[in-house]
C-alpha cells in the first residue's frame, strides 16, 4: 500500500508519517450543521427579498433595476453562502461553528481556496448522494469532499480534563484511563453511581497500594478521596 492510499482511505499522516487520528465528523453532526445553515439561508432569503425589496422600493431607481438587484442578490446568496463563509471563517459556516465542525484539507491542514469552491459547487448533487457516501466512506467524505480534497472534522474548544499524578504498582494505562474517564464523566452519571464506582476503585487502591490512602481523612466523598489518592490534577 502506498502512502497516498493510506492517506486517502484510512488515515491522515502528519510529519514523519505519524498518523494524526483526526476527529472526523460523522453523518449526524454534519446533517445537524447543514440544517442550521439551510435554516439561516432561508431567513437570509426572506430578509433580502422582503427587507431589500422594501428598501429598494423607496429608492429612486430606474425602471426595474430594483428587481434586477434582488434577482442577482438571491442568486449570489444561493451559490455563495457556503463558499464565502468557509473561505472567510477558516473552513466554518454558522452551522458548522454551532455544531463544532470545521473543513480541513486532505492532510489535515488549512484547505486551499479551490477545494472550498469545488466542494460547494457540487453541493446540490450531494443533497442527493452525500449522506450515503458519508456513511460508506471510512473518512466520512461526501462527493464534494472527494473532489475538493477536503475533510470535515470536529473542532470543539478544549475542556479541562483530569490527569492522574500517580498510580499503584501494577496499574498501567488502562487503569489510568478508567480513573480519568470516571472523574471526567462523574457529573453526567445518574444518582450516586459515580460515588459507587469511585468506592470500588478505592478498594482496589487500598488493597494494592494502601500507602496512597494513609494521609486521607476518613469522611471525604469517594470521588474526592480517589482524586487525592492518585494526585489527580486538571490539565
Amino acid at each position: 500500500m502506498t502512502e497516498d492510499d493510506l492517506r486517502d482511505d484510512q488515515a491522515v499522516l502528519g510529519l514523519d508519517n505519524i498518523a494524526l487520528d483526526l476527529p472526523l465528523a460523522g453523518i449526524g453532526s454534519r446533517v445537524m450543521a447543514v440544517l442550521i445553515d439551510y435554516l439561516l439561508l432561508s431567513v437570509l432569503f426572506l430578509v433580502v427579498i422582503l427587507g431589500g425589496g422594501l428598501a429598494l422600493s423607496f429608492a429612486d431607481l430606474p425602471w426595474g433595476l430594483d428587481l434586477a438587484i434582488l434577482l442577482l442578490a438571491v442568486f449570489t446568496i444561493n451559490w455563495g453562502y457556503f463558499i464565502a463563509f468557509e473561505l472567510l471563517w477558516s473552513g466554518q459556516t454558522p452551522g458548522k461553528r454551532a455544531v463544532g465542525l470545521r473543513v480541513v484539507g486532505r492532510r489535515g491542514g488549512t484547505p486551499g481556496g479551490s477545494g472550498i469552491w469545488i466542494r460547494n459547487l457540487v453541493r446540490d448533487i450531494d443533497v442527493l448522494v452525500g449522506a450515503v457516501l458519508i456513511v460508506s466512506d471510512p473518512m466520512c467524505r461526501r462527493l464534494g469532499d472527494r473532489l475538493g480534497g477536503t475533510l470535515v472534522v470536529h473542532d470543539r474548544p478544549p475542556q479541562p480534563a483530569p490527569v492522574v499524578g500517580r498510580l499503584p504498582d501494577g496499574w498501567g494505562a488502562r487503569e489510568a484511563a478508567v480513573v480519568e474517564a470516571l472523574l471526567e464523566r462523574a457529573d453526567e452519571l445518574e444518582g450516586d453511581r459515580a460515588e459507587q464506582l469511585a468506592e470500588r476503585l478505592l478498594r482496589l487502591v487500598a488493597r494494592q497500594a494502601p500507602q496512597l490512602l494513609e494521609d486521607l481523612p476518613g469522611d471525604v466523598p469517594a470521588l474526592d478521596a480517589l482524586r487525592a489518592a492518585l494526585a489527580v490534577r486538571e490539565t
Partner: protein, 332 residues
C-alpha cells in the same frame, strides 16, 4: 516510562506549545523565528502523540495530544495556494488548462452538435415533435409572425431581463458543470437537452419562415453563450473522468487533478455569461442596429473567448505551477 512520569516529564512542553499556538493563531503574523520554534515544539508534541496513542491510549493525555497534533498540523500546513491574480488566471492558468482538456471539451462540442442536427431533423420532418419541445405558445406566436424573444424589450425592464438571463444562464452552466459529479450523466443531459432544443427551435422557425429573424436575434450573443454552456458541460465531463477513469493514477490523485482542471475551466468561462446577458438584452433585440453589426459583435466575442482559451502564446511563457501541474503542500 509509566504514564504519570510521562505526563510529568512532558506536560511543560505541551503547555508551552498550546500557549504558543494560541498566540500564533491570534497574531496571524508570525516571524520566521517564531514559526521555527513552533514547528520544533510541534514535532515534539507529534512524537509524544504517537507514543501516547500506542502506549497510553484513551487517557486524558493521549486525547489532549491528539487534539494538539491536529491543531498544530492545521496551523502549520496549508494546501498549496496558486492564487496569483486575475490576469495570471485568465491569461495563463485558464488557457493552459483549456488546451490540456481540449479532447474532452471537443467530445462535449461534438455531442452537442450531433444532437442539434438531430433536433433540427426532427423539427423539419416531424414538426409535431418540435412543437412538443418548444411549447404551443411559442409556436402560436411564430404562426402570427412573432418571435417569443420580442417580450425581452416590450414587457420586462432591461435590468430585470439581463439579471434574469444572467442568473438563468449561470445556473444552467453551473448545473452542467456540477452534473459531471454524477459520473458525467448530468453534464450529458444538459448537452443533449440544449442541443436538441437548439436544433428544434431552428427547425421550427425554418418551418414558419422565421429563421432569419431568430438568427438575427441570436447572432450577437448566441455563439458565445452556447460555447460557454458546452465548455462548462465539458468541464463536468473532465470532473467525471476523474471519478470513473483514473487510469494508472491513484484515484484520489486523479480526482484532485481533474477536479482542479474542471474548476479552472468553469472559472474562466462563467464571467462571460454576465457580459452576454447585457448583449442579449441591449443589443440582440434592438431593431435599429444593423444585422451586420450584431453578427460582427457575435463573431468578435466568440473569437475573443477562443483566442483567450486557446492562447498560442501561452507556450512561450515560463512554466506554470497550477495544482494539476505540481502537487504538495507548504508551510503556512
Amino acid at each position: 516510562m509509566d504514564y504519570p512520569r510521562f505526563v510529568t516529564a512532558r506536560q511543560p512542553i505541551w503547555d508551552r506549545f498550546e500557549g504558543d499556538l494560541s498566540f500564533a493563531t491570534k497574531a496571524r503574523d508570525l516571524d520566521h523565528q517564531g514559526l521555527e520554534t513552533l514547528a520544533m515544539s510541534y514535532r515534539q508534541v507529534l512524537h509524544d502523540h504517537a507514543l501516547a496513542a500506542a502506549r497510553f491510549p484513551d487517557t486524558s493525555a493521549a486525547r489532549r495530544l491528539r487534539r494538539l497534533a491536529f491543531e498544530g498540523n492545521r496551523f502549520l500546513y496549508r494546501e498549496r495556494s496558486t492564487h496569483r491574480g486575475m490576469l495570471w488566471f485568465f491569461f495563463r492558468t485558464f488557457p493552459t488548462t483549456f488546451r490540456r482538456q481540449l479532447p474532452t471539451l471537443g467530445v462535449a462540442a461534438a455531442l452537442f452538435g450531433l444532437l442539434a442536427v438531430f433536433g433540427l431533423a426532427v423539427a423539419i420532418y416531424r414538426p409535431g415533435l418540435g412543437v412538443a419541445m418548444v411549447g404551443a405558445e411559442a409556436v402560436e406566436g411564430l404562426r402570427q409572425g412573432h418571435l417569443w424573444t420580442e417580450h425581452l424589450t416590450t414587457t420586462v425592464p432591461p435590468g430585470v431581463s439581463s439579471s434574469g438571463i444572467a442568473t438563468n444562464n449561470l445556473s444552467v452552466a453551473l448545473m452542467a458543470w456540477a452534473g459531471g459529479a454524477l459520473a458525467g450523466l448530468g453534464s450529458l443531459w444538459v448537452l443533449a437537452l440544449n442541443g436538441l432544443m437548439l436544433g428544434a427551435v431552428i427547425g421550427l422557425t425554418l418551418h414558419y419562415s422565421m429563421a432569419g429573424a431568430l438568427l438575427e436575434f441570436i447572432s450577437a450573443h448566441g455563439p458565445l453563450e452556447l460555447t460557454i454552456i458546452i465548455v462548462c458541460a465539458g468541464g463536468g465531463l473532465v470532473l467525471a473522468r476523474g471519478l470513473v477513469a483514473a487510469d494508472d493514477r491513484p484515484r484520489a490523485e486523479a480526482l484532485r487533478q481533474e477536479a482542479t482542471d474542471a474548476l479552472v475551466i468553469l472559472g474562466g468561462s462563467l464571467p462571460w455569461l454576465l457580459l452576454l446577458a447585457l448583449v442579449e438584452v441591449l443589443i440582440s433585440p434592438a431593431p435599429d442596429l444593423p444585422v451586420s453589426l450584431k453578427v460582427g459583435i457575435g463573431l468578435a466575442l466568440e473569437v475573443l473567448f477562443l483566442s483567450l482559451a486557446l492562447n498560442p502564446l501561452v507556450d512561450r511563457l515560463p512554466p506554470d505551477h497550477t495544482p494539476a501541474a505540481s502537487k504538495g503542500e507548504h508551510h503556512g
